[in-house]
């Protein structure tokens, strides 16, 4: 293992009495596409700006490439940032914007020229060199911002919600372009987003943040499949929760009493965030099945359909289980031969103990 490119430990940030970051510990690996994901106001931007050098942490340490960043100003850090507003200099042409950082480093003119041309080509803006930068479209401005930062070959590129200002179509296109660009240049990307889908599709690893704290750091699959708490599970996709009570633990197994499902013995590994404080089991909507007449499952439960949402390729059912107040959501793929059930119909719901997670 090479050493992490960014190491944060015990980072706190106070604005007056308000704590925006609290005891943030984080290692970001060299060359990975890392996302900071969380709801609005959870401190993502504050964390990113602390790495960039625009905010001074109240406590804790920050190392980039093994070097302490204590007292190192933003213009001396090996990081570059793509701002949410893109911050393209409006009085400069596209090429002048891209050359800005190289000129600050006082590189020879010829080198600046070739590197600017390369960077502009890399983001697909050939022929736009001399264009005035006001009057560029959102997508073009973003490309200029990317080229302007990447031309400096930073160790880390920081991106604060770079796609949030774009419309849906362009956003999806830029997501895949951004991912390809990151693979091509091999630079560590740290992306801030509040869009869980964006984080899941683009990142190698994701840190989920709530209220200034990091709740979980994991790969997208791990985050979706093994969330460590109800809050994370709810933020990443949908999850159904059933009340649960831990009865006994013996070795690697734990016996729980689950609402509707009854007494079960689950492997300890299914308590993803540890056993302590667990009071619910969670199950993803696609892990439950509505059984057809001919189908059977190890475990099944009677239910009544209370809502149907038809999406073409998928159908979302809200079903009522006996002795449970809230409905449970089940998603079914609309494969051939499967009929859509109607509200009020009875259904058999198949489930399996291996898809349950014990959560706090």
């Amino acid at each position: 293992m090479t050493q992490p490119i960014i190491q944060l430990s015990g980072l706190d940030k106070f604005y007056g009495n308000f704590q925006a970051l609290s005891q943030v510990d984080l290692d970001i690996k060299t060359g990975e596409f890392f996302s900071l994901l969380g709801p609005s106001g959870c401190g993502k931007t504050t964390l990113l700006r602390s790495i960039a050098g625009f905010e001074t942490p109240s406590a804790g340490t920050l190392h980039i490439d093994g070097q302490s960043m204590d007292g190192v100003p933003a213009n001396k850090r090996p990081t570059n940032m793509v701002f949410q507003s893109y911050a393209i200099f409006p009085h400069m042409s596209v090429a002048e914007n891209v050359a800005y950082g190289l000129k600050a480093r006082k590189l020879p003119k010829a080198e600046i020229k070739t590197r600017v041309a390369e960077a502009i080509a890399m983001v697909g803006l050939q022929g736009f060199d001399a264009r005035a930068s006001h009057g560029l479209s959102g997508g073009q401005r973003q490309r200029v911002a990317l080229a302007r930062a990447l031309v400096l070959k930073p160790r880390v590129l920081l991106l604060d919600e770079p796609l949030s200002a774009l419309d849906k179509k362009l956003r999806e296109q830029m997501q895949s372009e951004l991912r390809q660009l990151q693979r091509a240049v091999g630079i560590t990307f740290v992306l801030v987003t509040h869009d869980q889908e964006e984080a899941l599709t683009m990142s190698d690893r994701i840190a989920v943040m709530f209220d200034g704290k990091i709740a979980q750091v994991a790969t997208p699959e791990e985050l979706y499949g093994k969330p460590r708490s109800r809050r994370v599970a709810n933020f990443i996709g949908m999850m159904n929760f059933l009340d649960a009570k831990i009865l006994t633990t013996s070795g690697e197994r734990v016996e729980v009493d689950v609402q509707c499902f009854g007494k079960l013995t689950l492997p300890l590994a299914q308590a993803t965030g540890g056993l302590e404080g667990c009071d619910a089991v969670g199950v993803r909507p696609e892990m439950l099945t509505i059984l057809t007449e001919s189908q059977a499952a190890d475990r099944e439960i009677e239910a009544v359909i209370s809502e149907v949402f038809y999406y073409g390729d998928m159908t979302y059912y809200d079903v009522k289980l006996p002795f449970k107040e809230d409905t449970v959501t089940i998603t079914m793929r609309n494969t051939a031969g499967r009929s859509i059930l109607a509200v009020g119909e009875k259904a058999r719901v198949g489930w399996s103990a291996s898809s349950l997670l014990l959560l706090k």
Partner: protein, 270 residues
């Protein structure tokens, strides 16, 4: 019967006539071939302009006025830049009330500023000179400069500064490479406004003039001699044309600045 719309139109018409008719009379009599300023007009002449060319005292007054106006414009714009920058970027205690006090001279009667400066300067044992007028003019022009420059600085996206810093530029260079070019239209507008205000300011200049009159003070002095009136009309015509052109240039720069930064225009002089 007059409808509401008609009353409004009449009101506007009368208002505009009272506002501009006297100013339009200036060029009319400036080219009138008679030493008496009255109708009917006699004939076309440019001799009143020629008279201006040979009046030595007038030339001294113009030089004084230009010197005062240029110096005032430079200093009040410099102070305006500092104040606007401070008030839009940095939070400091009692910012609002401090800014309020700085803006106060805008509504303070000039006679108060004139008299109080006169008393202070005399009491401190200084001679009245062009510099005492400059001091007074800086006092009344700076608030206007701050108002113009504040909006220029406020329109500036703070992330532009951060981006420059992030790209490896120093704060000092960021100020010259990013901030200055973007607020330059505001600075030009501020220079022009301060110049114009100073150029035709009378009360302060009159109180603090000492032995060196400015142009408005000179003109006021000449009004005692009726035979000088037509050439004053010619002088007034020149001043009128210059003032209007300056104002147009100032607004052009303000608008260009707004277009350059891609921000919607929020009113203006014109």
């Amino acid at each position: 019967m007059l409808r509401k719309g008609h009353i409004f139109k009449w009101y506007m018409g009368v208002f505009l006539v009272f506002l501009y008719a006297p100013a339009i009379l200036l060029p009319v009599f400036a080219f009138n071939d008679s030493s008496i300023v009255s109708f009917p007009l006699k004939g076309f002449t440019t001799k009143w302009f020629a008279v201006l060319q040979t009046t030595e005292a007038l030339h001294v007054a113009v030089r004084n006025s230009l010197m005062i106006a240029v110096t005032t414009a430079l200093f009040s714009t410099l102070f305006g830049v500092l104040a606007a920058r401070a008030s839009t970027r940095f939070a400091f205690p009692a910012r609002r009330s401090i800014m309020g006090f700085i803006m106060l001279p805008m509504v303070l009667p000039e006679i108060i500023i004139g008299v109080s400066l006169l008393v202070v300067i005399i009491q401190m044992g200084f001679e009245l000179s062009l510099w005492s007028i400059i001091l007074g003019h800086i006092l009344i022009c700076t608030p206007f400069c701050i108002a113009i420059l504040s909006s220029a600085f406020m329109n500036l996206d703070q992330s532009l500064e951060e981006a420059s810093f992030d790209l490896g530029q120093t704060r000092w260079n960021t100020f010259w490479l990013v901030i200055m070019p973007l607020v330059m239209p505001g600075i030009v507008a501020s220079l022009l406004i301060a110049f114009t205000i100073s150029l035709d300011e009378f009360i302060i200049a009159f109180f603090l003039a000492g032995t060196e009159p400015t142009l408005p003070v000179y003109i006021w002095g000449q009004l005692r001699f009726p035979q000088k009136l037509p050439s004053l009309m010619a002088l007034g015509t020149i001043l009128l044309v210059l003032s209007v052109s300056l104002l147009l240039v100032a607004d052009y720069f303000r608008r260009r600045g707004i277009r350059k930064t891609g921000i919607e225009s929020k009113g203006g002089f014109l």
